[in-house]
Amino acid sequence: MAEQKAFKTAGLMKDLMAKYYTKGKESREKGIPVAWVTAVSPVEIFYAAGLFPYYPENFGALAAARKVADKLSMVAEARGYAHDLCGYARCGIGDAYADEHPVGEIVKPDLLFCCNTQCGSLPKWFEVASRFYNAPYFLLDSPQIGNEPDKLCEQYFIEQLKELISFLEEVTGRPFDYDRLKEVLHLSNEACRLWNEVLDTAALKPAPFGFFDACFHMAPIVTWRGTQEAVTYYQALKEEVNERIKEGIHAIPDERYKVYFDHIPLWPKLRWFSDIFAAHNALVAVSQYTHSWAYSFDLERPLESLAENYTEEFVNRCFDYRVQLKVNFMKKYGCDGFVLFSNRSCKPNAYGLYDKRNVISSITGLPGVVFEADMSDLRFFSESQIMAKLELFFEQLSSR
């Protein structure tokens, strides 16, 4: 297989993520509180309050990508945390108790904030961490909504944002700065817009950018969303992708098919997967996962708009909505098939996939497959089983 040309922006990413970790340490030294936050949560409030938001999930993904998730996990397992818990949580809890820190030490929190749109694992992990680090914990509770926006849940969310703001005012000892919030929301909007414009180029045939590229380039939209750094990064990435389009550089050498992938990738096997799909001329073009960060805030109604954006996020939605979302992505990106990852570490995304596969196939007529593994832990990875499923899928693709 021809070696794919590396993104220049990748260098920028390394600097940016190094800066992120340094900033965590510096914040602590300067007395700026470090707040643990979750990936799909209104982090904008924390930037506006002048705190440093830290993403332990990112730590989990890093440990997974470096193939040490099992080592950290075993430290947690020795204390009775079972290996079927979320892999990120196992890494985080494991690191707290570990003597060795193969990916550096997780940044300790001064306070913890979790929004449970994504799952029920994060809040429980954060509860554990709150006890371990003896730091206060705030749960922003987001009940699941159906196909339509839900006023009751939005109102609940808004009330909790107000409670959160009071909580942060107490922590920081200063009144919350709503003007600063507007600036942050604007920066979030910009980064989300640019990020989604980049993602959309995967619909071109052949495409300059695909899901595996997105997995590489997504860290800033998660961790730096709400800052100028994220905007600058995605401006650079977008420019580079546009150059690639002009120069005819494609994500894979000979793209014949486009595939929808659900949901989080197997971090320690990212390269393995990307090579297999490329070898079969299939571009994994889209996943709901990388599209999680597609917010558009109304600066004139900041709290209402935060509530709308976060409660209406697909991770906070019912079965049917999620099916429709996947189908819409498949249409928008012109997919020829879909691969669904039944991820032991991510129950809310895994549960329902067996039925969803059938429903999606009957709506779209596209071939689809479900495979089993864990996003971070290779002890649950069976190469032969997954290969067998994928081979069958590639056969179906080529016979279409």
Binding site: G80, P143, E163, R322, Y351, V359
Partner: protein, 380 residues
């Protein structure tokens, strides 16, 4: 009926979980609304004229659910779905699923496709219970549930009806708590298994009938002379009590269960609904003030301290942490719970269970060993 007959009836109900509901449905020509255990306002369902039915899971043919739900999902939910797929819940007209974990949050859509029902609704319980927002929201969510029930029945649920149902359920909980106390005072007259069998049966039969039977049962037990015994006092902590056989193993090793935080145990019968407050507000207050459980963030009453306090108040000699395999919320609590208990001087053991595959022999051995250890400490 005498005591033995009443207990025999409860046993029959628990062993034939669909018996009473089918009979009621036929006699009353009414509708049965199931619920997954147990954070559901049954009073609302009852006030709507429906039969609230607690799906208690099953131990056979879980593999029926494998095409819909991963084998590493909670076995209680898997077994409940398997029951539906086997046709064993075909008397249900509806189902209410309280969203207390990821499995209960995601299973409704699966259920809808695998085993459709005319009335299928999530009850979206708030998971933080300390701040004022939780109460406001929950009152709204209860109103939503009420509205759905009203639409399904075709008419409004009157305040009077709801108050009557609340009164009935309060009375029922008071009777069950009384029974719990009698068991504690005089275990010889009501064994561990008999007690929890009654609690299980209470979710499977009409409340009116239940209250009559409980009143008679209590009267009969009160007439018996208490036999002071030297039992090993235990608290059980976990999500669900499963399997009931563990209660026999505790009994035969000289143990008595004096407290629990189980969804199908004392947590189900604890706390009343304030009849002086507006019904929906009162229902919300009971839910928010329930004893700690892994599905909720309760900062004002941390679960590990609650367990220590319970063990102290109940003068327990030890605590069994009954862990339903793959129950994520429970698993996250485990280590800190056991640390806190041991630090407070309460020996504790974790016993893993799973609907369908629990090895009873192994469980018996572990319970025996634990009770021997704890019992040795009491006597020594």
């Amino acid at each position: 009926m005498n005591k033995a007959e009443i207990l025999g009836l409860f046993k029959k109900v628990a062993e034939n979980p669909d018996w009473q509901a089918r009979q009621w449905k036929e006699e009353q020509n009414g509708k049965v609304i199931g619920f997954l255990l147990t954070d559901v306002p049954e009073e609302l369902v009852h006030a709507a004229g429906f039969f609230p039915y607690g799906i208690s899971g099953g131990n056979s043919r879980l593999e029926r659910a494998d095409a819909h739900l991963q084998t590493w999902a909670c076995s209680f939910v898997r077994s409940s779905l398997a029951l539906a797929l086997e046709g064993k819940l075909d008397f249900l007209d509806g189902l209410i699923i309280p969203q207390t974990c990821d499995t209960t949050r995601m299973v409704l859509g699966i259920w809808q496709h695998a085993s459709p029902l005319p009335f299928l609704l999530n009850f979206r319980v708030p998971r933080q219970v300390d701040r004022p927002s939780a109460r406001n929201y929950l009152i709204g969510e209860l109103a939503r549930l009420k509205e759905h029930l009203e639409n399904y029945r075709g008419s409004e649920i009157s305040a009077e009806k709801l108050k009557k149902s609340i009164k009935l359920y309060n009375h029922n909980r008071a009777l069950l708590r009384k029974l719990f106390t009698l068991h504690e005072q005089n275990p010889a007259s009501l064994s561990n298994k008999q007690l929890y069998t009654v609690i299980k049966a209470s979710m499977l039969m009409p409340r009116e009938k239940l209250n009559e039977l409980l009143t008679e049962l209590i009267k009969a037990i009160e007439q018996e002379t208490a036999v002071p015994g030297n039992r090993i006092r235990l608290v059980i902590s976990g999500t669900l009590l499963e399997p009931l056989e563990i209660l026999d193993f505790i009994e035969e090793s000289g143990g008595i269960v004096v407290g629990d935080d189980l969804k199908n145990g004392f947590r189900y019968i604890d706390g009343d609904i304030n009849e002086a407050v507006k019904p929906l507000e009162a229902l919300a207050d009971r839910q928010l003030n329930k004893m700690p459980s892994a599905g909720y963030d309760i900062a004002r009453n941390p679960r590990r301290y609650f367990l220590v306090k319970t063990a102290e108040q109940k003068k327990a000699h030890g605590v069994i942490l009954l862990h339903l395999k793959y129950c994520e919320p429970e698993n996250y609590d485990y280590y800190d719970n056991i640390q806190a208990l041991e630090k407070a001087g309460f020996p504790a053991i974790r016993i893993e269970t799973e609907y369908g595959t629990t090895s009873l022999g192994q469980m018996r051995t572990r319970v025996q060993a634990f009770l021997e250890m704890v019992g040795g400490e009491i006597n020594g």
